[in-house]
Amino acid sequence: MTMDTSGLTTRLAELADDPAAPNSSVDIGAALQTGRRRLRRRRAAMAAGTGALALAVGLGTLSALPGQTTAVPPQKGGPSSGSLTGSDPMILPYSFGWLPASYVSLEAGDVNSSVKGGMVSSDLEVMLRGTTTTIIGFNALGPGETPQSVIVTTVNGKTVSAPEIPTQPINGGKAFFESKSAAATEFNPGEPSSGAPSFTTLSWQLPNGRWADLWPTGSPVHPGPTEAELRRIAANMRFGPSPAPLPIHISALPQGFQLRELTMGSRVNGSQEWTLMATYATPSGTKVDLWITPVGAPDAGGIGSNGATVVSNGLQMTAYMDDSGTNTSSLDSVGGLKGLLGHVTSLGTDTDNWTTKVLG
């Protein structure tokens, strides 16, 4: 067998042109729907100004060695804001009082912050994951905003909105469903299915007059919650800052490192397969990832040549440098990656022992 560079190009093309590839489930309408939500939140965050900045900075500030704790200021206002009161980097602005049995994992993540040209943008999504492809997202609209075009689909290259289907009030507030399948049926009953999953969104009015919605996405294998389940989730939503207990305590970080991203989640109900991932970075772009899993979890993975790992109290704690940033000298003050892990205390796998006082 031989392969020159053009041969590799040809073989890659043949691989990508796989005639046995399944039909695409990419859903342009869903991309529009989610994209509009993010734009709406971004605009709301821009309008809130300091609220968005406080969230981004609040998530990004940790104590600097040696032993110097920086408190995170409380955050004010904003439709998706919570109160960041210091030692817990994961403050959920809402919490779920009831969930279907298959949705126990909570992820407060996908916080994308950027500062360019003095502009600060921040998207916050609070999601529940039952599987890697099924998500229930929650979104609270800003004051005066009303739900619109929650579900869109594409017909002959044009977007159409799903009809609102009224349902009984939730905690006294107006409520309605929107169904993508209803939209497709109404506007183009003859359109063949693309294989994309259908989904139903529930919108309802909160006691303070604002609107909120739950927007599950499913797959043919995991179709997502029923309408009755969505109603029950909505009726049991709790509002207000809710610190999420985490399985570690971090005493300090090297000077200059700030928390860039934090994700906590698990794959399936009742499983030990959860993962806590935290990315810390310096302004110059050097990144360190902390990866915490129960010992033996599939996501424990490998650490490659740029990592160090410690097993403690049933948890595997790994720290590694991002591929693109191998300047380990910035960790010299704490003794490298291994030394950094010395500042991380494992609290084990029993969630009763986890803490909301994570930092400092």
């Binding site: 560079t5 796989d18 990419v26 342009i28 991309a31 529009l32 044009k158 977007t159 991932m277 693109s324």
Partner: protein, 172 residues
């Protein structure tokens, strides 16, 4: 009105280019369903930043960069199992099944670390230059060259190809 125009432009572009993005995604992750997830996430980000994408004058390049970044970011989040980077022993090589050529290549790609895989796909499937690849990956041209060389070496090792038949230096 501006919003409708934006939506129309986005839909037209994505309708025409989803298949292309899906193929790149498949080469990156070796799984069609996951490729769909990657493309779904990428076109959502593309919609949010559509005005910026139009401003750069090369929407294909922008979309491809979003896709690559989404793929690489996913490697860090833990929702997909990390690729373990370890040298393959001769014993393991001998135990590799005698698969058909395409499957061989797919398996070999899967064995590459994510950034090497992305570099090989960009250089050899998307036919980007070193400079263009560096821009897409937000790294130096030197990094692209070294990642390409390592990736090709690893592919050659896994596919059992003589070293003289693949040379990075032959490409601009």
């Amino acid at each position: 009105m501006a919003k409708q125009k934006r939506d129309a432009e986005f839909i037209e572009y994505v309708s025409n280019r989803t298949s292309w993005l899906r193929k790149i995604a498949y080469l990156l992750c070796s799984d069609w369903h996951r490729a769909d997830d990657l493309v779904q996430a990428s076109i959502t980000k593309l919609y949010v930043n559509w005005s910026r994408a139009g401003g750069v004058g090369n929407i294909d390049g922008y979309a491809r960069r979003v896709l690559i970044n989404t793929f690489l970011a996913e490697q860090r989040t833990g929702w997909w199992r990390r690729t373990v980077v370890q040298p393959i022993s001769e014993q393991e090589l001998a135990a590799l099944p005698d698969l058909d050529t395409a499957l061989d290549l797919r398996e070999a790609l899967t064995g590459l670390p994510p950034r090497q895989r992305a570099t090989v796909v960009l250089r050899y499937y998307c036919d980007l230059s070193v400079e263009q690849t560096a821009e897409a990956l937000d790294c130096s041209t030197g990094t692209v060259k070294s990642q390409t060389a390592r990736g090709i070496d690893a592919l050659r090792l896994i596919l059992d190809i003589p070293s003289a038949t693949v040379t990075e230096g032959a490409r601009p």
